[in-house]
């Protein structure tokens, strides 16, 4: 999905690192093999990165500068307009912003702006991640019923965290595109809450 962007900008000391929040490498494999990316695509079955960066849905992108500093926090960025009819989010503007940053035409956000745009985890978010971590471990060790209890609890503690609520569905044998997902989405969006939370349209 990001290959064209990477090809265009790689000579500018720019890299894409994609991280799959999937239950197994095999779940992500068909997508990766089809795209045959030359940038790293990493597999994060235990949601290590979701925990470190407070990521609650996909796709979520961040900019990290040459010194290892976050210069644009979690944002919703699509690489194509394939899902635009559903998401209402177009890819051109965010991708133009990435290009301008890679070329050095812009420098990302100042530290104070970045902090102002960050969403930091709450105690409930971290409790939910612990419940998810336990559930994921239990599922891997064949304790299906116990796993289900903790997946459910995790989703109740952090109902906005779709890496938990939707991301656990394949582990639990639920179709993540099926009726249970659609029901969950309708209940969420119907309550006036957005499924995707892009950053406000700032200069970036």
């Amino acid at each position: 999905m990001w290959q064209a962007l990477y090809d265009e900008l790689r000579d500018l000391r720019f890299v894409v690192i994609a991280i799959a929040l999937d239950k197994s490498a095999d779940d992500a494999r068909p997508w990766i093999e089809k795209a045959a990316p030359t940038y790293p695509v990493l597999i994060d079955t235990q949601h290590v990165v979701a925990d470190l960066y407070n990521i609650v849905n996909v796709p979520t992108a961040l900019w990290i500068d040459e010194r290892g500093r976050i210069v644009r926090p979690n944002d919703v960025v699509f690489g194509t307009d394939t899902f635009k009819h559903i998401t209402n989010l177009e890819s051109a503007r965010p991708l133009a912003a990435v290009r301008a940053w890679a070329r050095g035409e812009t420098s990302g956000f100042a530290a104070s702006e970045t902090r102002g745009l960050q969403t930091l985890p709450t105690a409930l978010d971290q409790q939910a991640r612990a419940e998810f971590g336990l559930a994921e471990w239990l599922a891997r060790h064949g304790a299906r019923d116990a796993a289900e209890r903790h997946f459910v609890r995790a989703g109740e503690l952090a109902p906005h965290d779709f890496t938990i609520r939707r991301g656990s569905m394949p582990i639990r044998g639920i179709d993540p595109m099926g009726p249970q997902f659609r029901e969950m989405l309708q209940a969420w969006v119907g309550g006036g809450r957005p499924y995707y939370r892009p950053l406000p349209d700032t200069r970036g």
Binding site: I17, E33, V48, I64, E66, R69, I70, M177
Partner: protein, 134 residues
């Protein structure tokens, strides 16, 4: 045997489960989580945390895992029946790290099993994107 999952690893420990509570010996606590009690203070290799006033943690050589987690401000997910617990990282610790704007480091593998460490990409601009097949 009871399993404690923490910091990307897991460790079987000798624990007593009573009324949904998990009780560890001092040895089990040290082996599983690396903490020891010294004069009313829980210490590991790098830091010490004082017990709250009136705490009975460690009395009679018994450590309640829930109290240990609360003292250390760590989220604890526990399934006494299944015999496993997950000790997570507090919101405060995560918020402090993110607020520093230094991108938290991690190592994950690609499909071929090759490990990649985020910090090994220093010197380049990184567009990091989380996605999923779901």
């Amino acid at each position: 045997m009871f399993t404690i999952i923490e910091g990307g690893g897991e460790r079987p420990v000798d624990a007593r489960v009573e009324d949904g509570r998990v009780r560890l010996s001092a040895d089990a606590l040290r082996e599983a989580l690396g903490w020891e009690l010294h004069d009313g203070t829980l210490c590991n290799d790098t830091m010490c945390v004082p017990l709250p006033a009136g705490s009975r943690l460690g009395e009679g050589g018994v450590f309640d895992l829930g109290e240990v987690a609360a003292t250390l401000d760590r989220p604890l997910a526990l399934d006494a029946e299944a015999g496993a617990a997950f000790v997570g990282v507090s919101a405060g610790e995560r918020a402090q790290a993110l607020g520093s704007l230094i991108a938290p480091d991690f190592t994950l593998s690609d499909l071929a099993g090759r490990p990649h460490m985020l910090s090994s990409y220093r010197g380049r601009k990184v567009f990091m994107v989380a996605w999923a097949s779901w």
